[in-house]
Symmetry: C2
Subunit: 360 residues, 2 copies
């Protein structure tokens, strides 16, 4: 097992445990639990796989399992309220602990529920998808979607720890594995060219679920994320670079209906958009863009947007992105392969040209 540390002020730093067989190491979990009351928030897909062993490991506690339906379309205030309903019915107090057991949706919702329940209770992330292990479980971004925009309602709220057990990836389907690789590739593109080269060489091993390769990808991704979050917890600067491809990606997720694309799939398409825009600014050349597109394709990810969406729809959906200032559209681009830009105002003509390339 490896333990990386996310460094934050006021004693709020926390460990990310990475390794195999971690879910069976109950002590990793119990050292971060504050009282007898423990809620496990999970979904209908994950519960049959991992809830029973977790329940058994925590049999000394007053356990409450909240089982939500599986999918991005349920990441709403309405389903968040179901978590509150159950915790209040069980009379859970402010020193209870909430464990989010699942992928990015469950981690975001469980974390936001923990942030708001009685103005904040302890929570622990047990991510069960590659995407959640390498990205969403680390850094304290929590929230739910709104019909008008993804992750528009939420909080910065840090967990007590993150437990990333590579063994749970055995039950992940291929599509979910690829979606996670989109965020892994992102770290290489924005700040770690050496890792990017390793990913290009190792993609066949990763898709074949080689344990050593996967563990290395998780570690390197979490190390990059922890560094960025430690520098800029509330996204006033460098943290925004983690959003490479996300402004376009969120527009695709919202515009095509939550649940149609996996988040990582939309990010892959969005990053290809961002690479194209970077070329129009003269920051990348044709070969750079082709290299990026090729890596996403090698990871079995989509690289072109849904035919159903119009350019006007993208502009409209991107206008509510959290990085915008006074109504201007701002995105993260690439100054080079391996180096992200800070948020830049997008020229509407460039945006239109890029969108025309794809959405005709």
């Amino acid at each position: 097992m490896k333990a990386l540390q996310v460094e934050l002020d006021n004693g709020r730093g926390y460990p990310i445990y990475i390794g195999s067989g971690l879910l069976a190491q109950t002590e990793l979990l119990t050292r971060h639990i504050r009282s007898k009351q423990v809620a496990i928030v999970t979904n209908e897909t994950i519960a049959p796989l991992y809830l029973a062993p977790l329940r058994a490991a925590l049999s000394a506690y007053q356990l409450e399992a909240v089982i939500l339906p599986d999918g991005e379309q349920y990441k709403t205030l309405g389903y968040l309220e179901k978590i509150f309903d159950q915790l209040l019915a069980a009379k859970f107090s402010r020193n209870a602990t909430l464990i989010a057991l699942g992928g990015g949706v469950i981690g975001d919702m469980g974390g936001f529920a923990a942030a708001c329940y009685q103005r904040g209770i302890a929570f622990i992330q047990i991510p069960t998808t590659l995407l959640a292990q390498v990205d969403s479980s680390v850094g304290g971004k929590t929230g739910v979607n709104h019909a008008l925009g993804k992750n528009m309602i939420g909080a910065f709220y840090q967990p007590q720890c993150v437990i990333a057990d590579a063994d749970v990836l055995d039950t992940l389907d291929d599509r979910q594995l690829s979606a996670g690789l989109a965020e892994v590739i992102k770290y290489g593109l924005i700040r770690d060219p050496e890792f990017l080269a390793w990913l290009e060489a190792s993609m066949p091993l990763l898709l074949a679920r080689d344990k050593t390769a996967l563990a290395h990808a998780i570690e390197r991704s979490c190390a990059n994320k922890a560094e960025v979050v430690g520098e800029d917890e509330f996204e006033s600067g460098a943290r925004a670079t983690l959003n490479l491809g996300h402004t376009f990606g969120h527009a695709i997720e919202t515009g095509s209906g939550y649940g149609h694309y996996l988040h990582g799939e939309a990010v892959a398409i969005g990053t290809c958009f961002a690479a194209d825009l970077s070329r129009r600014l003269g920051w990348l050349n044709d070969a750079d863009v082709e290299r990026i597109v090729a890596l996403f394709k090698a990871a079995k990810l989509p690289v072109t947007p849904p035919a159903s969406m119009t350019a006007a729809q993208y502009v409209d959906l991107m206008a509510v992105d959290k990085k915008n200032v006074d109504g201007k559209i701002r995105v993260i681009l690439l100054e080079a392969v391996g180096r992200a830009s800070l948020p830049v105002n997008v020229e509407l003509t460039h945006l239109q040209e890029t969108l025309n390339t794809y959405v005709g």
Copy 2:
């Protein structure tokens, strides 16, 4: 005008401006606004009184007024979502500023909306009731109610400033004025015996809305609140003493249906409960309890609970209070007139005796 400062770490301290005619001093407001986008959250009672002048003062901004129905029964996640709907429809970004213009309900909901919208935007409190000016607008407690408990969903989220204009109390009805006095009396009871004696002497002046007396009551209350919050922002210690009477009060508000009692009325009744329990522990004598009850009566506040509620209902409702640990009921009591206790576990027999006195 006086400006008190709430001292918090990480540069999050903020001023409370107290005086007459402050709403006309636009610069007080604009120095805390971050961008062109300004949302005003208010309700149907306050909007006709104060929205037009505020709009006029802020005519240089992109203004969005969110007008909610008036009453504690609308302090729900459902109505909170209406705020998000409107801000997203207007494409408000993360550097927008939200102004809460209203009483405690509007301040709590506006603050919670600001805490969650795009994971946090700037907000300003303009409290329009005495209760909000002396208590709820200061200290960063925000949130909404749940059918199973008051303020159960929320966040600690501090404003940029609080503007307490004593002139707005001219439009407050007598019942609301008295409700505010319940929280004013609380400061005297928990930590300021000199202020308590002044309140006993000045109650007729306060009820007659003498401006000098009211301004003194607001200042002294805010100074007490700012000190307590500065010492213990997240209620791990001394801040809990501000909840004197609130555990019982919340049970009354929830049990009798939100909107039936004003918050201050329920707190007055709850504080009389707490005084009675303190006597049973030998901390207060009969004369102390009579003195406390007499002051609430002088402020035209109720001191006996609704006949409709049973002792079992109180115990059940108090079991979800935020101060509880592992299911034990904990309340703030008085060690003396002018000195609060820290949270104490309540003996069920004592609680039953106190409840029997009132609810038969």
